[in-house]
Amino acid sequence: MSVYLDHAATTPMFDVAIDAMNSALRKLGNPSSLHTEGRATRKDVEDAREVIARAIDCLPSEVIFTGSGTEANNAAVKGLFWNSEKKVIIVSSIEHHAVLDPALWLADHEGAELIQIPVDSDGLIDLDFLKRTVAARKNEIALISVMHSNNETGVIQPIAEVVKIAGDIPVHCDAVQSFTKVPISYKNLGLFAMTISGHKVGGPLGIGALILRRAVEIPALLHGGGQEREIRSGTLNAPSIVAFAAAVSAHIFDATKVAQLRDSFESGVIAARPDAVINGESAPRLPGISNITFPGTQSDSLLLLMDSEKVSCSTGAACTAGVHRPSHVLMAMGLTDVLSQSSLRFSFGASNSEADVQFALSVLPRVIERGLAANSVGKK
């Protein structure tokens, strides 16, 4: 038996999405071509756009397909900054690197001033800090970007309050982890821009979308044929777009069931290791993400041991060299360097069952024991 508990990294493609992609791959036609084949593919793309627009509650014309969530985040942060005369960028301190790094890059190369919103020990952003900052710097702020839910802890952020505080300031929201997991209405939130991604929702890799308010024009990252509102060029990836929509319309993710699995797992972990700490436990969370600190361990050892016991989980986000670094998210929540490197993320998805939970719980005690032993000898 092997158990996959890393659905926040990527989740299996749904069968309906694979089928939709397979038949789209057999279809000929560039969606931008004017002939019969081109029009047929264009129709599939536009049908898919409408499906996704309905799911996120935006206009079809507000959906700009991109090659990934990362691309959409880059396009939003850089685009909204370049679109403005103002120099201040406000992001939460727990953003994914796909938001944080473009913002840091703009600070290093384009004269931006980056302000990070702190979070409390539950991982919720400090709305008073945001209020004070907006009140003091209102006319200098180019954009605010706050994620809908955090990819490491699953903690859901108060986006409606952020938009209210922002007033006229454009707000972008990275909703990659939240989309299809919890109800989201782009329209009701009143956002300028939002990011979603295909492979987190049962669709394929290599497809994402930037949701950008109608009639808002931002400079392009990719110039070329101008396919997506002149904001994103490149031949439309019709098979992936079609499969993305098929996954979204399948409604296979059962939030209640997944939350039950997570709760069952967490109570089993605490029963086995009473010193374990569930990060962000008392904040509103996504149904499927559980981030747990096991004091006295080293998370890369735990990951190796879990893997050799056939349970796949994560230490958070890996960097290019694959060297585990302390999580900026957990450190922003006040964990020490050491404790943040003693934490694992388990993320549950539509394909998991209670048997998976019980299997993971059955291997956990010996993994933690060995992890504690390894930490006491191999590492200071």
Binding site: L303, L304, D307, A321, G322, V323, V377, G378, K379
Partner: protein, 357 residues
């Protein structure tokens, strides 16, 4: 057995891991990240823990079909190897960091961690052999004399040798490359690494100057007459002839060599070639990977450099120090280097040279 394969990203450790899998072991590949700020690319034969190397190691593990992880040992490496390298030079000795790495990292931090995690040992791509005998497992030279690495492994104690597997000791390097090619390993023709991995420029003196400063001091001859100036005593090595920058010639025009480095007075002493001659050496902190040496003199060999010759000697313990008396004098021997005693091709033990005469 369940073993960890330490994979540098080079051809040797890749073939060693593949051979361990074939021998029936359950193998997990681990690349050690030894620098907290790794360089992206490898330049020539220098450096051994760039991001490119970790990719090469991962790719080799994938081709072999074993799990692969990166272990961050940068702190341990800095404390156990880099700082030791600097403090030894600062004290006027010439350390061998590869030995320290084997002693403190690969067969200590890694082996200990592996054992705690339920593994039985560590496999590496070192060229050396082990044999099981009446006295337990012993360490021996590799069959390829040009690649033999028993010298840098001689710091391992019995327990560490018992936890180590060296699958390459019976094969010549040229055949390892052919085997890697046949196994489809892309690193088959990757150049060997030389020099010191944490000094990617290869300029040891410059690296040390950047970290230890460059305090000017006298270069003196054996009777104490100042004949020049140096820019940091630790950038000199015993036996060094070039780069002294001396303008006062000797009476007979013969060249001068570094005889001694005195860190307390920041003085470099130079003299004639014959004054470099050493006939005996003493080593501190001896480690024996076979039967422990006693006070009774024994005939054997001593090696004082990684690829140096095995010199005929008589060795024995004098108190806590290991002594080797050479049959024929050796020119230029730096303290800080390891003296490794051999009985034929078997490693008897090693010690760090603290005194020469």
């Amino acid at each position: 057995m369940k073993i960890i394969a330490a994979m540098s990203g080079g051809v040797d450790s890749a073939v060693a891991a593949a051979r361990a899998v074939e021998a029936g072991h359950e193998v997990i590949g681990v690349h050690l990240a030894l620098s907290s700020n790794p360089q992206k690319y490898r330049s020539g034969a220098r450096g051994c823990c760039t991001i490119e190397d970790s990719h090469d190691a991962r790719r080799a593990a994938d081709v072999i079909g074993i799990p692969f992880y990166i272990w961050d040992m940068a702190d341990e490496f800095h404390a156990g190897v880099v700082e030791n390298f600097m403090s030894e030079y600062a004290a006027g000795r010439t350390p061998n960091p590869c030995l320290r790495c084997n002693e403190k990292i690969k067969f200590a931090a890694v082996l200990d961690r592996a054992k705690a995690m339920g593994f039985d040992g560590v496999v590496t791509g070192h060229y050396a052999r082990t044999q099981e005998g009446a006295d337990g497992r012993t360490l021996h030279r590799a069959v390829d004399p040009l690649k033999d690495q028993s010298y840098v492994l001689a710091v391992l104690n019995r327990e560490q040798i018992n936890g180590a597997i060296f699958p390459l000791g019976d094969t010549e390097k040229v055949d390892i490359r052919i085997e890697a090619e046949a196994r489809g390993l892309a690193v088959a023709q990757k150049p060997d690494s030389h020099d010191i991995c944490f000094v990617p420029s290869g300029d040891n003196a410059g690296w040390l100057r950047d970290r230890l400063g460059s305090e000017v001091g006298p270069i003196v001859d054996q009777d104490g007459t100042k004949i020049g100036e140096h820019k940091g005593a630790y950038t000199y090595t015993i036996g060094q002839r070039k780069g002294l920058g001396l303008t006062v010639p000797t009476a007979d025009g013969s060249p001068r060599f570094v005889l001694k480095i005195e860190p307390v007075t920041n003085t470099v002493v130079v003299g004639a070639r014959e004054d470099l001659a050493v006939t005996s050496m003493r080593g501190e902190n001896p480690i024996f990977c076979g039967p422990v040496v006693g006070a009774a003199p024994v005939k054997g060999f001593v090696q004082v450099r990684a690829h140096g010759a095995a010199l005929d000697c008589t060795y024995y313990m004098d108190g806590s120090e290991l002594v080797a008396e050479l049959d024929a004098p050796l020119l230029g021997l730096a303290t800080g280097q390891a003296m490794v005693i051999y009985d034929g091709d078997r490693v008897v033990g090693s010690a760090t040279i603290c005194e020469t005469a």
